[in-house]
């Protein structure tokens, strides 16, 4: 056993070195970084690390997933609910390439991850050795940073850098590829010092007070200001600072899909979701406001619709930690570069306390129209078949908005995010930027490890569930409590919706057959139930939420229901359609 018998946090120069393998040093480093849970899958090239892990079973909880993609999505779910860095292990070659989707997902959604991949022996690099792939080059475009370790001596410093880079500034995924010889190699381990500085890396831009003052001046002069907030508020752990700004300024605020939950859904100034399937008011009034205050959001094309018709009348104030986001898609009038946890209180200080009552009432009027034309029919349908919206609405009633809702990608995702109520931060876990089907089930597993005391409900479509349903095996083995709610419309619903609206109902390969999900779950030892009747809905949801351990509930919903409102691709946000 090669567990280091010393305090790893002691300054290295004060320590006597101990001889450790690279693998043991890696695990020591993970412990110091606060890692509790690792999601992974072993293989030949990472075997020395797994062998060392055998000695660390008491300190590091390893979750054996069923596919490396499941492992990285679980790491993402863990990071999103816990606010910590997700840690993922995979072997070389196919193991490593199976991480690519999750890396791309984490990169675009700014999720902090440290992925460790095994690699062939250093002397075999570049020889097409068994299970060798050029992981560094493959993952370069989808990582915040990556590095290949070929010598065990590099491990402490590189792992420290990896965690620092993953979690600081705008967070993101980091991949460290370790050759097998470096994992085996014994070296003199002098302790582990976490990293807090890299010469060439500036995680946060310096705050410039004059720009805060200018921003406040523009806000104070505004008649119809409008706040758009994104995940930056959550990533910066700035929910309180954000709420204080919103409440003092009295400005209506709307959220991007990843920003959901930073302030409660029912907050009187929370006017809804932005974007393609967002709420009516926030979209239309984006093109009417005089000042647009964007906080920790990146003007994704699903938010802005057609850029040349986006908020042309407004002065744009953009608060962001990433200088590359300023002016990237939308030209700003005042750029406030910095960590919003630090910039928001400064801005609040200079902003006058106001109540934009009339302006807020305009949003409420649009909400009333949306309720009349869309929401009522979705939540209280007059037809016999159930809608996705009413399922989510019933779920809200039973969880009081306290659950973590993990959605997959498709119609159910948009419905879930539109209608789920969030009372707590870090409650909405979804694949926002990449739109990865198959995300929800493994992410929900990770989300539960990141928020063990909260109910976690994975809301998944029948298509997405079949992409990673093998992760029910992970649930079976770990006994983790994840509620799986499948909204089955027997279609790849979002593509079908587009085909209906824009391709003359040419339903090309979207009618998907599914197995008996309840029977499949039963095979994995997970209790389940499938319902078709509205009368069974509340009882079935209660049964799911009250069951001990995981439970799969399949709800058969209307086949050809569309998610509205919708900003058709290539249209401006004010051209949002209610039907």
């Amino acid at each position: 056993m090669e567990v280091a018998q010393q305090d790893v946090l002691t300054a290295p120069e004060q320590q006597a070195a101990v001889e450790l393998t690279g693998s043991a040093a890696l695990l020591e480093a993970l412990i110091v970084e606060g890692t509790e849970t690792i999601f992974g899958y072993p293989g030949g090239a990472i075997m020395p690390i797994y062998d060392a892990l055998y000695d660390y079973k008491e300190k590091l909880d390893h979750i054996l997933v069923r596919h490396e993609q499941g492992g990285i999505h679980a790491g993402q779910g863990y990071a999103r609910t816990s606010g910590k860095v997700g840690v993922v292990f995979a072997t070389s070659g196919p193991g490593a390439t199976n991480l690519v989707t999750g890396l791309a997902d984490a990169q675009i959604d700014s999720t902090p991850l440290v992925c460790i991949t095994g690699q062939v022996f250093a002397h075999l690099l570049g020889t097409d050795a068994f299970q060798e792939t050029d992981v560094i080059n493959i993952t370069t475009p989808v990582t915040k940073w990556n590095y290949q370790i070929t010598d065990a001596n590099e491990i402490p410093e590189v792992i420290a850098k990896a965690f620092y880079i993953a979690r600081s500034g705008r967070p993101g995924p980091v991949l460290i590829d370790i050759t097998k010889n470096a994992q085996i190699q014994k070296f003199q381990f002098k302790g582990y010092t976490p990293c807090n500085h890299i010469r060439s890396y500036r995680p946060k831009p310096i705050i410039r007070p004059s720009f805060i003052e200018r921003a406040a001046q523009v806000i104070n002069e505004a008649k119809k200001p409008f706040i758009l907030w994104g995940q930056g508020v959550l990533l910066g752990k700035a929910e309180q600072e954000f709420k204080a700004f919103v409440e003092k300024s009295g400005i209506p605020a709307a959220w991007t899909i990843l920003g959901a939950g930073a302030i409660p859904t029912d907050h009187p100034q929370n006017v809804g979701m932005l974007g393609m399937h967002g709420n009516y008011g926030p979209n239309v009034l984006t093109n009417e406001c005089d000042v647009l205050i964007a906080i920790g959001m990146r003007f994704d094309d699903r938010v802005t619709g057609r850029l040349d018709k986006y908020a042309k009348q407004a002065k744009v104030i953009h608060l962001d930690i990433d200088p590359a986001e300023i002016d990237k898609n939308v030209k700003t009038h005042v750029a406030v570069w910095g960590d919003c946890k630090e910039t928001l209180p400064l801005l609040t200080q200079f902003v006058e306390a106001k109540q934009h009552t009339e302006w807020l009432a305009k949003f409420n009027e649009f909400t009333r129209q949306e309720e009349e034309q869309v929401i009522n029919a979705e939540l209280h349908p007059q037809t016999g078949e159930m809608t996705m919206g009413e399922v989510i609405d019933q779920l809200n009633g039973l969880t009081n908005g306290d659950a973590v809702i993990v959605t997959d990608v498709g119609q159910h995702q948009m419905v879930g995010c539109r209608y789920a109520k969030f009372n707590k931060t870090r409650s909405n876990v979804t694949s926002g930027g990449l739109g990865t089907m198959g995300f929800a089930l493994p992410a929900a597993i990770g989300a539960k490890y990141g928020a063990k005391d909260r109910p976690v409900v994975a809301v998944i479509g029948d298509g997405g569930f079949q992409m990673t349903l093998q992760e029910m095996g992970t649930i079976m083995q770990t006994g983790i409590d994840v509620k799986i709610l499948i909204l089955n419309n027997q279609f790849l619903g979002m593509v079908r919706q587009w085909q209906e609206l824009f391709n003359e109902r040419r339903y090309s390969f979207v009618d998907i057959q599914s197995p008996d999900f309840v029977q499949v779950a039963k095979g994995y030892g997970i209790a389940g139930r499938s319902i078709k009747e509205r009368a069974d809905l509340k009882g079935a949801l209660e049964e799911m939420l009250n069951s001990k351990g995981s439970f799969l509930l399949e709800v058969m919903v209307t086949k050809e229901n569309n998610v509205f409102p919708m900003v058709p691709q290539g249209c401006s946000v004010s051209e949002i359609r209610l039907k």
Partner: protein, 204 residues
């Protein structure tokens, strides 16, 4: 706020100067920023700078300033990149070097080496029995000029270097870099110093 409906301003050559750590794989990371936007790099030079362990890239592309500014921000976002600047050709002094290999006998027989050297600002690097290698340094049109002169005499091989450029308005660069390098640990450097004139100058 500028009008996003207006046509993009005209493309021109921009010299992008990147100061980086000496790190394997960084070239690829930087190159990807151009390739994913389908932007061709016209010239790329990378070499150690005057400061040990800091490398300097000179990248030339033909693009609009708006695109170049965004590219530079993406480059500077990379962990191992210290600083990025961009400049038009008017803002820099730039040079390319070219080598020309020609048969010695023809040159000796039909052209006056001395005249060639004088008229084209060239210098003979190697004179052998079988061939002569000339070198010139200058702008593209200057180095191109000698190709056309030597072609009739049986030019054997030609090679041109990437562009290197010195920024005209760069007083204090060296000092700044050394300060940057010595800053341990991490007091943030002055960033965004030109933010209020960011349409004119870019740096972070």
């Amino acid at each position: 706020m500028s009008d996003q409906n207006t046509l993009p301003e005209g493309k021109q050559e921009f010299n992008i100067t990147v100061y980086t750590e000496n790190q394997i794989g960084l070239l690829n990371r930087i190159a990807i920023i151009f390739t994913r936007r389908k932007i061709n790099i016209d010239s790329l030079n990378t070499s150690p700078s005057e400061i040990e362990s800091i490398h300097r890239f000179n990248i030339v592309i033909n693009e609009t300033e708006d695109v170049v500014r965004k590219l530079c921000r993406q480059i500077e976002k990379q962990v191992e990149v210290l600083k990025v600047y961009y400049h038009t050709n008017a803002d820099v002094i730039w040079q390319e070097m070219a080598l020309y290999k020609v048969p010695a006998d023809i040159i000796a027989e039909k052209a006056s080496v001395e005249r060639l050297l004088r008229e084209n600002g060239a210098r003979a690097v190697v004179i052998r029995k079988d061939y002569i290698v000339f070198e010139t340094t200058g702008h593209r049109e200057e180095t191109d000029n000698l190709i056309s002169v030597l072609q009739p005499f049986g030019l054997i091989e030609f090679v041109r270097s990437a562009r290197i450029a010195i920024i005209k308005d760069s007083e204090g660069f060296n000092r700044k870099l050394r300060e940057f390098e010595q800053m341990e640990p991490g007091e943030d450097v002055i960033e965004n110093e030109y933010l209020n004139q960011r349409d004119k100058v870019f740096t972070m």
